[in-house]
């Protein structure tokens, strides 16, 4: 089968301007997208730059966008992308610095972020017999996450990274989960200082896009949600987020449901005059439209006392 590869090109040693080159490649049925790239480089244009390593879908090195979606070229069959016509487009990931052609800056994209979460175990002191024995069940989820091969597809699917490239992203946060939930690690509080800081767990919108993109079904979003729940249990240290969560919790605990007006002012902070002033234009507009919930003028749900009882019991159990 003959397929036209429409490949993103950018060469910093020439003019550095992005462009696209077309290559008509003759391939066997069942060929992978990488087979075509190798053929182009070997037989047609040796200047084409792309990455590949394991050639069997285990290392993630060859990730690019095929027809707009992120894929590993070594396991992506050409036939799966040519159903609408005999051509495919290949691009580097979105929002990453491109080094040359399909080769982008993996350090900026992912490795620097993984380094930032301190990706090694800080083990507790060994017991007197020199061993720390961990029941197998306690490591089950951690072990699952340890099988991540850092292909970065979760980061490519992330909703936040396109608007903020400095967000730590699901790959690094999933790595952080691996250590926070490892019973041998003693650095939980230290780790949460980084994780609750700017660009950390609270910047995640928990939209579950990352889970849909993960080729190993490691559920990165669920790992981030677990980190957030753990932070809530330990006491949130990010002041702004703590105000928001504590107000939300107090409102549900006291009335059974959410007092949105109260949440708006308490999230800013009752003594944060500039923050509250910022709310004024929005509140004024909403008032004019008859839709501003008045803080603390919130009726209790019937059975609010029963909901409170459940809430408090669950809180006691987590401690």
């Amino acid at each position: 089968m003959e397929v036209t590869y429409k490949v993103y090109r950018k060469d910093p040693e020439k003019d550095g301007k992005p462009g696209r080159a077309n290559y008509a490649v003759d391939l066997l049925e069942g060929a992978t997208v990488l087979d075509g790239l190798l053929k182009i480089r070997d037989e047609m244009d040796s200047s084409l730059a792309f990455r590949a390593s394991c050639l069997r879908g285990n290392c993630g090195d060859c990730m690019v966008r095929i027809n707009g979606g992120s894929r590993l070229t070594c396991v992506a069959r050409v036939s799966a992308f040519t159903q609408k016509g005999p051509e495919i487009s290949l691009d580097p990931l979105r929002n990453v610095p491109v080094i040359k052609d399909l080769v982008f800056d993996w350090d900026a994209f992912m490795w620097n972020k993984i380094k930032a979460i301190k990706p090694w175990l800080e083990a507790q002191e060994a017991s007197s017999n020199g061993e720390n024995i961990i029941p197998d069940a306690e490591l089950k989820e951690v072990r699952k996450v340890m099988s991540c091969y850092h292909c970065g597809m979760c980061d490519e699917g992330c909703t936040v990274l396109p608007v903020d490239f400095h967000f730590l992203g699901p790959a690094a946060l999933t790595k952080a989960y691996r250590f926070v939930f490892d019973p041998r690690d003693k650095e939980t509080k230290e780790r949460f200082k980084t994780l609750e800081g700017p660009k950390g767990i609270w910047d995640c919108v928990h939209c579950y896009e990352a889970d849909e993109h993960c080729p190993r079904n490691l559920e990165p979003t669920k790992r981030i949600v677990a980190l957030r729940d753990r932070a809530f249990q330990l006491g949130i240290t990010n002041e702004k987020v703590a105000r928001h969560h504590n107000s939300f919790a107090a409102s549900v605990k006291e009335s059974g449901w959410l007092d949105e007006g109260r949440l708006a002012v308490e999230s800013e902070g009752l003594t944060n005059i500039s923050g509250l002033m910022k709310l004024l234009p929005i509140a004024a507009k909403a008032l004019m439209k008859g839709k501003a919930p008045i803080p603390y003028m919130h009726s209790k749900r019937p059975d609010a006392d029963k909901i409170k009882k459940i809430f408090e019991k669950a809180e006691r159990e987590e401690k």
């Binding site: 909703t159 919108v205 019937p302």
Partner: protein
């Protein structure tokens, strides 16, 4: 056709136009609603699961007692409850533990039979599109509409689209736009997050998402965007002016709730759907709708 109605906090709080519009539309369609009044907030993905799973299990048990499936009008309520319900149905030991520790005091037990459905799913899966079509009095011809689902109505798959057949849920809103006679102005971020969950933690990123989605919709020539999620509405409508100020680009895109959109096609006057309560002016939409009738 009857449901245990879970309207959610926002439909009477930050978006008070939503609750009455939904009730009027349900009434017109002949969908009977038995409102669950003595149940708690879902937690909205803010509170941790160990607290919200028992509170949601209580809601499911109440609906189970009525023998009714739950209907919501909020993607976030649907998503959080569907995820909790998945955990409770999937793991009988976990359900037993929640029943024993949290619900038994009240004499309640959740047996794991309650279904949670958004109005959007009810229209396609229970009510039937053919039946809906017979009630359309004002096909919304000439209006261009962008869909915006609210990410909790799209994922995670085990709770939201558990079978191949139910994977269609990802396209219901797209389909509905055509069914109601309007034209689709498709946008790349229709299944992404609106930014509302991080409005407090990172306002700049949140507003950037508002600008991205509404800006793209406007560029595609949409008259308005429709969403089944009032939290998306709060951000996309309520914070659109701030998103404009942040990006320095005028957008001015009205955002309609799902029941308002359906209601207009059923023949309700825009005033009956409370469009005037939106922050972004809906005057142009109302004029176009009135010209159709």
């Amino acid at each position: 056709m009857k449901y245990a109605f879970y309207p959610g906090c926002v439909s009477r709080g930050g978006c008070p136009e939503l609750y009455p519009s939904a009730v009027k539309v349900a009434d017109k369609l002949g969908i009977e609603l038995d409102e669950l009044k003595s149940v708690g907030c879902t937690g909205a993905g803010v509170l941790p699961q160990n607290i919200t799973d028992p509170i949601n299990a209580r809601t499911f048990a109440k609906a189970e007692q009525l023998g009714l499936p739950i209907m919501t009008i909020c993607s976030t309520c649907t998503g959080v409850m569907a995820q909790a319900n998945y955990r409770l149905k999937e793991d009988p030991n976990y359900r037993d533990k929640i029943n024993r520790e949290f619900l038994a005091d009240e004499g309640l037990e959740y047996k794991g039979t309650t279904e949670v459905k958004h109005l959007l799913w009810v229209l396609f899966e229970d009510y039937g599109i053919e039946r809906l079509q017979t009630l359309i009095r004002r096909p919304l011809k000439g209006l261009k509409v962008s869909p915006f689902y609210g990410c909790y109505l799209r994922r995670p798959p085990e709770a939201i689209t558990p079978t191949k057949e139910l994977n269609r849920r990802k396209a219901y809103l797209d389909e509905l736009i055509g069914i109601l006679g309007a034209e689709m102005a498709d946008i790349s971020g229709k299944g992404k997050c609106c930014g509302f969950p991080i409005l407090s933690a990172n306002e700049e990123n949140s507003l950037a998402m508002v600008a991205k989605h509404t800006g793209e919709s406007k560029e595609k020539g949409a008259d308005f965007m429709v969403t089944p999620c009032p939290l998306c509405h709060l951000n996309l409508d309520g914070n659109q002016a701030r998103a404009e100020a942040q990006t320095g680009k005028e957008i001015d895109l009205p955002i309609l709730h799902l029941p308002q959109f359906v209601g207009l096609a059923l023949g309700f006057d825009p005033s009956e759907m409370n469009l005037k309560r939106h922050i972004v002016s809906t005057t142009d939409v109302e004029s176009k709708v009135n010209m159709i009738s």
